[in-house]
């Protein structure tokens, strides 16, 4: 162990690596050892191909200021966590994302989950809903209810939350381009239940920038999309103050093949873009910034993931205080949800995924996340079965209640290696953020295809490293077994009849509603979109007249246009 006198710096008395610091150790002990037996590899890197050190030593953190860079938990810049007691006070929220088929089926699942003591819901919508298309849109063919729940109108939303008191739960909705519409439906359901919008709690993902970068579920071009988002921020600041208006997401950026540093940089650059847009729309930064939250991925490389979350908090705190001059501490704190990496799971030997998820979840916890979704072992094959979801939830419960890791705040803080890797990732991300700033900000960078190209390049490189065996994926390119000997696990099947069922309901709705009221509401919305009024009240009116998601989006498209991507290979 180190015998430290006063500081952690190598010159003044530390003997972690013996006399002469690292250099002394390298000459005296390491070199002869390497001559006798070389290391396993000439180059050690993270899963993101980021070089890592053989050994962390006091020299690596000589430049780290213990007060201004590291600080204590709950204190600026929050490297060690945003709360003083972290999980000693309250465990992270275990929030599993779910939804499939019709509103009625999903409502039954939600009621079951709530009866089991869950207090928050997380809604997965189907692809047509995510893309702002109705179930009877030709593009929706084969997709209705398949990857999430199908919502066409307020009638479906009423069914989805039937018997669920919105004043007693919080709801997270993974919805982006049509977020304003689904959020308006939620507010309208609340009104019908007699719940004032002021007490509604929840989150909409509402992060359109990462759609252009990675997930590709867009409708309008970036600039009108940002206008819708700033309208939501302004509306919520006034009417729905407990709502998290954007969940700024690195998850999908990583799933699209980015490195950890790219995930960190592009996500924070998106965050900077939203804050900038809010300020340009005339809002005070502290009026909306406390309601911004984040969503990161947790991949296989344990320390890289821990350090990514620590670096994210430090960068964001400084950006908010020093660049945007936020005064409210809550604006400085990066609150985040984490989901384990779907793209890391293997179809081969699927039970090994339970172990991957455990390592990834542990990294998220030691990185200081506020909430966590653990993937199920069968998600490379289909939506998860109930058994697989239960194992995934139990994984979190074992970490929280058996492993002991929740008993100490930031137990990895002060590790030479962890602090050094945190700093190097921070520098790597800041370098990319500065490049984006120099391009004129994230919207200009997206329009120039910069993040898209960087990610495509990283994804291709990683695949080549797997194909060549340079990087190992257990069960895929090493430690494989013949497919006929592999475990077969049960797969959740979505009934094809669900699509027909949803189409029948949609047809009935179109016949029963007041068509003139729908037309009036849509015309009012179109004229607001062409002007500069806040769109939220008009969207709320349209939703209450039972205009569909597809009709409302089509109406706004007539003003905003449609986004077309130039694909980057």
């Amino acid at each position: 162990m180190a015998k430290t006198t006063r500081t952690l710096d190598g010159q003044t008395g530390t003997r972690a690596a013996g006399e002469g610091g690292r250099q002394g150790w390298e000459e005296r002990t390491l070199r002869p050892a390497l001559e006798k037996s070389p290391e396993r590899d000439v180059r050690f890197t993270t899963v993101s191909d980021f070089p890592i050190q053989r050994l962390g030593t006091p020299e690596d953190i000589a430049a780290l200021n213990l007060d201004s860079d590291l600080a204590a938990p709950g204190e600026f810049p929050y490297t060690r966590g945003i709360h003083p007691t972290m999980y000693r006070g309250r465990l992270w929220t275990m929030r599993q994302f779910s939804g499939f088929g019709t509103a009625k089926l999903t409502n039954e699942r939600y009621r079951y989950l709530l009866s089991q003591g869950q207090t928050g819901l997380s809604v997965a919508f189907d692809l047509p809903t995510l893309m702002g298309r109705d179930s009877d849109d030709p593009m929706a063919l084969g997709e209705v209810g398949r990857e999430g729940v199908a919502i066409d109108s307020l009638a479906d939303m009423e069914t989805l939350f039937s018997g669920i008191p919105l004043d007693r739960i919080s709801t997270s909705m993974t919805i982006n381009s049509p977020a304003a519409i689904l959020f308006a439906m939620y507010v309208a359901v609340g009104e019908k239940q007699g719940v004032a919008s002021e007490i509604l709690e929840g989150t909409i993902q509402n992060d359109i920038l990462k759609e252009y970068i990675a997930q590709k579920e867009w409708i309008y071009p970036p600039r009108p999309s940002l206008r819708i988002i700033t309208d939501i921020m302004a509306y919520c600041a006034e009417r729905v103050p407990r709502w998290n208006t954007i969940s700024i997401s690195g998850y999908h950026i990583r799933e699209a093949g980015s490195t950890a540093i790219q995930e960190l940089a592009f996500t924070l650059a998106d965050g900077i873009g939203y804050v900038q847009a809010g300020i340009e729309a005339g809002m005070d930064v502290d009026a909306f910034a406390p309601r911004l939250s984040f969503f990161f991925n947790s991949h296989n490389d344990f320390f890289e993931e821990v350090c990514k979350l620590r670096a994210a908090r430090r960068i964001w705190a400084r950006v908010m205080r020093d660049r945007f001059h936020a005064k409210d501490e809550r604006s400085w704190k990066l609150r985040t949800h984490v989901q384990t990496a779907g793209c890391s799971l293997t179809a081969q030997q699927p039970y090994t995924n339970i172990v991957r998820v455990t390592v990834q979840a542990l990294a998220a916890v030691l990185g200081g996340t506020q909430s966590l979704h653990t993937n199920s072992m069968d998600e490379t094959l289909a939506l998860p079965t109930e058994e697989a979801v239960t194992i995934a939830l139990r994984t979190q419960q074992i970490l929280a209640e058996e492993s002991g890791v929740a008993g100490t705040v930031d137990p990895l803080g002060g590790s030479y290696f962890v602090e050094d890797l945190t700093r190097r990732m921070e520098e790597g991300a800041l370098d990319l953020i500065h490049r984006i700033d120099a391009m004129g900000g994230i919207v200009a960078a997206i329009e120039a295809g910069f993040p898209q190209r960087e990610i495509a390049e990283a994804a291709y490189l990683y695949q080549m490293q797997i194909d060549s065996g340079e990087k190992t994926v257990v069960g895929v390119n090493k430690h494989t077994i013949p497919p006929e000997d592999d475990h077969k696990i049960p797969i959740l099947k979505i009934d094809q009849a669900i699509e027909a069922d949803q189409l029948t309901r949609l047809r009935a709705l179109r016949q029963s509603r007041d068509a003139a009221a729908v037309a009036r509401a849509l015309e009012a919305l179109r004229s607001s979109a062409a002007g500069s009024d806040n769109l939220m009240p008009r969207i709320l009116d349209a939703v209450k007249a039972y205009a569909t998601v597809g009709e409302i989006c089509a109406c706004m498209k007539t003003v905003f246009g449609e986004y077309r991507e130039t694909p980057v290979l």
């Binding site: 995510l130 929706a140 398949r146 093949g257 994804a459 695949q463 069960g475």
Partner: protein, 145 residues
Amino acid sequence: MRSAPKVTRDASGRKVRLLVGKVGLDGHDRGVKIVARALRDAGFEVIYTGLHQTPEMVVSTAIQEDVDAVSLSILSGAHMTLLPRVMDLLKEKGAGDIAVFAGGIIPDEDIPELKKAGVLEVFTPGASTRSIIDFVHHRIHPRRG
């Protein structure tokens, strides 16, 4: 890793032409872009459709571009609807000799039915780019010499 392209042309020197694309609303394009680039690097002529194509659009592009095969990626679970639709449309338009292969999140138990519908091969998660390139070398040939 990148072997020299050997059998990417037929005797008359015509290169194998491939349409690589995404069909449906599914935006997961990490895999399809890697496959498109790997096939191009292996010496094939590759046309990438971009996202959000309907079966009609795919078939019409395949015919216009006079491709030898169509490679489609689907990760949304809509493969049992969209792939048979592409097969039917190709036949309807008299282009049933254009080969179709697919990749994505496709459960093993769906593969026999897709093959019965005429899909030549289905690549599932974990497939290497090498296995896809080898498949094209061996199974896809220029339609008219």
